[in-house]
């Protein structure tokens, strides 16, 4: 009976597939993208891979620290990604969106965005709003140390992104440093959130 219960409780495998597909997808801009696209993709990759590795480490040391026979890497990866659940879907969606923006013609070369552009922009912004609402719901349902980690990492990512942007703006103004795309800034903000969550979670346990 215990075996059956354990089977029922085993974590879903789909977050691991979403994670793997997104990491593989990021290889495209890294391989053939411009310098900016490559930098943004590397930020996205770091924001996914670092929390993943720390999550696997946590699953091995915290969740299975007392086990006589530790589970395989695949099982640990499955547990680690299942914990983040649909957050991977949101991150994958964001990366797809950035890819679409990267593929879109520059504003000067666009002949007629028309209805297709309106539909893409409306659907994408609707999905972003839905993600934010769902994230807020998720945060309300959280308890214990997970809530503390979520709130600390969110505020850390906010301040790192804002202060980094202000600092870089000074270099732009006084040293004519190249202007950065806002998409790059948002991507690094998300990477800061992912890495911050993993590091704060590691410190908390």
């Amino acid at each position: 009976m215990a075996r059956g219960a354990a089977k029922r409780d085993s974590p879903p495998v789909w977050p691991l597939f979403v994670f793997s597909a997104t990491v593989a997808f990021l290889a495209v801009p890294i391989a053939i993208g411009s310098a900016g696209a490559r930098l943004g993709a590397l930020g996205g990759l770091a924001g996914m891979v670092v929390p993943f590795l720390l999550g696997v480490r946590r699953a091995r040391l915290v969740d299975h620290g007392d086990d006589a026979a530790p589970p395989s890497f695949f099982e640990l990866a499955r547990e680690s990604t299942a914990r983040a659940g649909r957050m991977f879907v949101y991150v994958a969606g964001y990366i797809l969106l950035v890819f679409l923006v990267w593929m879109a013609p520059a504003s000067g070369q666009r002949k007629d965005s028309g209805l297709a552009g309106l539909v893409v922009a409306t659907v994408a912004s609707g999905l972003i709003i839905a993600t934010v609402v769902d994230g807020a719901r998720l945060q309300r349902r959280m308890g214990g140390v997970e809530r503390q980690i979520f709130l600390q990492s969110t505020s850390l990512a906010f301040f790192v992104t804002v202060l980094g942007a202000v600092a870089y703006a000074l270099f732009e103004v006084f040293l004519d440093a190249p202007k950065l795309s806002m998409w790059l800034l948002w991507s690094w903000g998300m990477a800061a959130w992912g890495i911050g969550s993993a590091v704060i979670a590691k410190r908390a346990t």
Partner: protein, 67 residues
């Protein structure tokens, strides 16, 4: 952060961290953080812990520096 005697209370009942997590309806990570003194519980969780071990909150948690 506060000092607590959760590991001793848990050991007295021969519970694992997973057992305690299940009883409190929190994650095992929360129990580990509590026991290591790296996370101070919310007031509802502190009451739940005291209720579970049939003692007062002060019996479980003491400010650092208080014996």
């Amino acid at each position: 952060m506060m000092h607590n005697v959760l590991p001793q209370l848990r050991a007295a009942r021969d519970w694992t961290q997973a057992d305690l997590a299940r009883e409190l309806d929190v994650s095992r990570q929360t129990v580990i953080s509590l026991e290591k003194g790296r996370y101070d519980p919310s007031l509802p969780l502190a009451f739940k812990i005291a209720d579970l071990f049939e003692c007062t909150i002060e019996d479980v948690f003491q400010p650092n520096g208080v014996a």
